[in-house]
């Protein structure tokens, strides 16, 4: 759990929540640059299966990652109804394809629970913590595990 001496008790962070295959996830709102509609990506040769390709984001080459497939779930159908969340991880910008963005959540540090030990270490690595909210479990994604550099080494 968090050290109460280090962080003020009322420390609140904002998160953007979204859904993929019926599961709810969220990422730190500070990492989100923009949310945009679907654009058809240009496929990249020899890329991991969860990389849809690259799109043009106002003159920048933006890799598009199918977040569902990245997390080991069925891949999201590339349809115009999907949404791309552009996030900044370190110096890199990547686009995450999700089914729908649902809400902005203000979460106190104290209600973030550490991800319990589960069978799959790999899927545990993606989630920083879990939140119980109105009967739902919301998974807080650790964006650093999704960085393209991490993708490349994961593919290796």
């Amino acid at each position: 759990m968090h050290d109460k001496n280090e962080t003020p008790p009322m420390n609140e962070n904002k998160f953007i929540s979204f859904t993929i295959s019926g599961q709810t996830f969220c990422v730190d709102i500070m990492a989100v640059r923009e949310i945009r509609g679907w654009a058809k990506p240009t496929p990249i040769p020899h890329s991991p299966s969860y990389v849809c390709g690259v799109i043009n984001l106002r003159g920048t080459v933006l890799p598009i990652v199918d977040l569902g497939a990245r997390l080991g779930m069925p891949s999201t159908d590339p349809t115009p109804s999907n949404v791309t969340i552009v996030v900044q991880i370190g110096d890199q910008l990547i686009g995450l394809v999700v089914e729908a963005v649902s809400d902005i959540l203000s979460l106190k540090d104290s209600i973030l629970q550490p991800t319990p030990e589960i069978a799959s270490e790999t899927s545990k690595a993606f989630f920083k913590s879990l939140v119980a909210l109105e009967g739902n479990m919301i998974r807080v994604i650790d964006l650093t595990t999704l960085a393209p550099a991490a993708q490349m080494s994961a593919a290796a």
Binding site: T42, I44, P45, H46, V54, V61, Q92, L93, I94, P148
Partner: protein, 149 residues
């Protein structure tokens, strides 16, 4: 801010719009079916003015599709770079010849074997620029891939 510009030929490879750097291109041609010969089962060469030039199925090399079993009515772009001998790249169609602005892939993604960089086309979509040296030297491509696998 400096922009790197490249003279390129816009082609279609396995349905994907792709740029081949003009400096690597010697000529383009449409070989007759009888000029294409097989070496055993895999390697193909094309007979051009008394010389046998290796045929490179770029679409398959980049993993866009399975290798073509029959080369028929395809267009061939003859390339030669400083480091590689004459090679014949198979393309579906040649669109245009134009200057493109080079956009790096490394910044947000990483390096891709066989791809030098990317660019943005007039319709806003991204097209990849071929790294002809890497594409034609099959040995280094397979080495890259086994490294990545």
């Amino acid at each position: 801010m400096t922009l790197a510009i490249l003279d390129g030929m816009v082609v279609r490879i396995a349905g994907q719009t792709t740029i081949i750097p003009l400096t690597d291109i010697v000529e383009t041609l449409k070989p007759k079916p009888e000029d294409i010969h097989y070496l055993s089962t895999e390697g193909q060469v094309v007979f051009i003015r008394g010389a046998f030039v290796p045929l490179v199925d770029v679409g398959a090399t980049l993993g866009y599709r399975a290798p073509l079993t029959k080369v028929d009515n395809q267009i061939v772009v003859l390339t030669q770079t400083e480091d590689s001998a004459l090679s014949a790249l198979l393309v579906d169609e040649i669109f245009d010849q134009r200057q493109v602005v080079i956009k790096g892939l490394e910044e947000n993604y990483g390096s891709v074997p066989g791809i030098a960089a990317a660019t943005i086309l007039g319709d806003g979509r991204i097209a990849l620029i071929l790294d002809v040296d890497r594409i034609v030297s099959r040995k280094s491509m397979t080495a890259d891939l086994s490294e990545a696998a």
